[in-house]
Symmetry: C2
Subunit: 404 residues, 2 copies
């Protein structure tokens, strides 16, 4: 049995017209010989009555400190409503569809409400339905603890559901349907000639997501990667091919070689503050700087440690708090607000000489001041002033020939 997991996001299920297109995608998969297992998100965006954010707002308007447990129980309704409506739509077309809650679909999680981890997936109920020729419509984003408590998986949770089911069912392919044609080389609102990628590696897509691109949740990618199941990101609303996420260094996946590609995409994260600390003391002082940040629950990024100087970035909204904490340690602290991090991601850039040179050249030729850089095997990031962000993205996108 060739199982395909098809996950449809909020905009794909929120209108009757969109749901008709979803039906078409499911029928097409059947015609291709697949047994489809469907995962849905809640309907629509903030403001829609049955959207996750709207349900949270309803609960929070009553009590802004509502318990995490109760918040999960109301959030689960978003996907339940959406999955029933989708099942009903398929039933109206004569297809046998059966709605399953996360728990009914065998998604067993811990009790870490609002951000639960999947402990295991028991695929027996889904397999039973699939063997009967039925199409399971599974509520994404939710699970059930062994004690029967309802849980949610955190942001991007429906993608995670799709990957976890794909793994447990040993699916041939996981399709992530959304309202864009695939994963792009850059945000098209900033770079007008950004293009859709045909394929991308698991690692690259995780890097892109961590560096600010809103594509697919990294957790979902990691689960699929562990099981070696390819993911396809594509649009419900067009017939575009989409972007295949797979292990492109592995000949098994069809040999879609992209080793001639140095860079895969350019991403950005705004609303960042740079913090520079003058360390006049021993190594112990550096340790205490990071320990203080950790104990204050402040995430740090873009870390450069030098003799006598530590630089890193934090989210702008916790920057003032970070400065106060560090000054209490007796250090001289400088903060630069209104920064942005721009990154070039690419599995092909490892050990290719001259990549950093090209990177710096693109920025300096455009009069962009480099505040700080950091690089890994598969990405280079630069901290720039927020006013230079857009120019930086465009310059790097052009330099690394990511345009059409």
């Amino acid at each position: 049995m060739r199982i395909i997991v098809q996950k449809f996001g909020g905009t794909s299920v929120s209108s009757p017209e969109a749901r008709q297109l979803v039906v078409g995608k499911i029928i097409k998969a059947k015609q291709q010989g697949f047994a489809p297992v469907v995962v849905v998100s809640a309907m629509g965006r903030k403001g829609d009555h049955y959207a996750t954010d709207t349900l949270i707002e309803l609960a929070r308007s009553t009590n802004k400190n509502i318990a995490a447990r109760e918040l999960d129980q109301i959030m689960c309704c978003g996907e339940m409503i959406s999955a029933v409506v989708m099942a009903a739509t398929l039933q109206s077309k004569g297809l046998e569809a059966t709605m399953l809650t996360g728990g009914q679909a065998g998604v067993i999680t811990d009790m870490n409400y609002n951000n639960a981890r999947i402990l295991k997936v028991d695929p027996s109920q889904i397999l039973r339905l699939v063997k009967q020729g039925k199409i399971p419509i599974v509520c994404g984003f939710q699970g059930m603890s062994p004690e029967g408590e309802l849980t949610t998986l955190g942001r991007g949770g429906s993608d995670t559901t799709a990957s976890a089911l794909g793994g447990a069912l040993n699916a041939e392919l996981i399709e992530i349907y959304t309202d864009v044609d695939g994963i792009m080389t850059a945000d098209p609102r900033i770079v007008s000639n950004a293009k859709i990628l045909d394929c991308i590696s698991y690692g690259e897509v995780c890097q892109l997501a961590h560096q600010g691109a809103k594509v697919i949740h990294p957790r979902a990618v990691e689960i699929a990667m562990q099981k070696g199941i390819p993911l396809m990101v594509k649009s419900t609303f067009t017939d575009a091919e989409g972007t295949l996420i797979t292990n492109i260094n592995n000949g098994d996946t069809g040999g879609t070689a992209v080793t001639d590609r140095i860079a895969t995409g350019v991403t950005y994260l705004a609303n960042i503050a740079q913090i520079k600390v003058d360390i006049l003391d021993t190594n112990d002082a550096s340790f205490k700087v990071f320990k203080t940040m950790a104990e204050s629950g402040i995430s740090v990024d873009l870390i450069n440690v030098h003799p006598g100087k530590i630089m890193f970035t934090v989210n702008e909204d916790v920057a003032e708090q970070a400065v106060i904490k560090l000054e209490k340690l007796g250090h001289k602290v400088e903060m630069v607000k209104d920064c942005a991090k721009v990154s070039v991601v690419g599995g092909g850039m490892r050990e290719v000489p001259g990549v950093m040179a090209s990177f710096v050249e693109a920025l300096t030729m455009n009069n962009i001041q480099i505040l700080q850089t950091v690089d890994s095997h598969t990405s280079i990031s630069v901290l720039v002033r927020k006013t230079d962000m857009q120019k930086s993205v465009t310059a790097l996108h052009e330099k690394f020939s990511l345009f059409n």
Copy 2:
């Protein structure tokens, strides 16, 4: 531990103002030394986004023949949303409230979707919470099958949940909160001087409900009666005492003797058609008349069987169909449309001489034509023309001194 079950209907939970009043009722119960177990209906009435009818409409607008199973799954969300909002409201007041789905509350049902029967209630989870001083907020109207399927209990299901929990928890009292001050002697829209009853027997309230009064679901009453747990019907919006439903022939319940009361209330059912069949044959023919109706799924009421003549009533919308079926048997059939059934209900009327005389007197003195009557130990019903319905209710209400 003195447990009280407090059930709040749709209008009691649909606005922030109403929910504050609900909090007051729960706090009051705690102050009186009770451990409250709360049951809630879905929020609001038809048209409200999270009301049961609205969710059904959403599903049916997609597919008017949606499977019963999927319909139950979407309906369950109405109470889940309502119960979370109510739990959040209590939490905001510093009360420890925990939302439970029907399944989590231990309401185990059969798989008869849309109208499931409760097989058993496992009260262990509720008892655990109550012993910790927490207030369980239970989703009414829903349960779970032993296989983990979500089910709903049919109309009036939240009342049924309250009674079933009351029975399983051996509650001291079950309070049914609504938007009226209690059970009335007649519909106040028809009889301006109708009054609230202080108390009523289980049997009488079932009779009233079956005869058309919208008070509390008979199934809920029967469950409470079996366990001998008193029910109190009262308003969320006032401090009125409400109506106590109990076994008023049983001295154990506090001796609220009402044996001097012959009648308890007057009810009506409109949109009824009378059918008269001339039987020219044997007893076998009578049997076949009723068998034909049963096989056609037509409910019959107000049945009078005489030599050569059978009279009964059916709902107006199936009357034409009934006539066609009966004419096929070869009988002469007469139909009277636009009838109404008016009933006087009262546990005190059994074996009291002259009750029927008073009943008939009240009608004939008001020039109301009696089309048919039927009586039991605890009720007398008359079939009248619909145009006489209002006059009949008023005349009987006055005759049996039910006014204030």
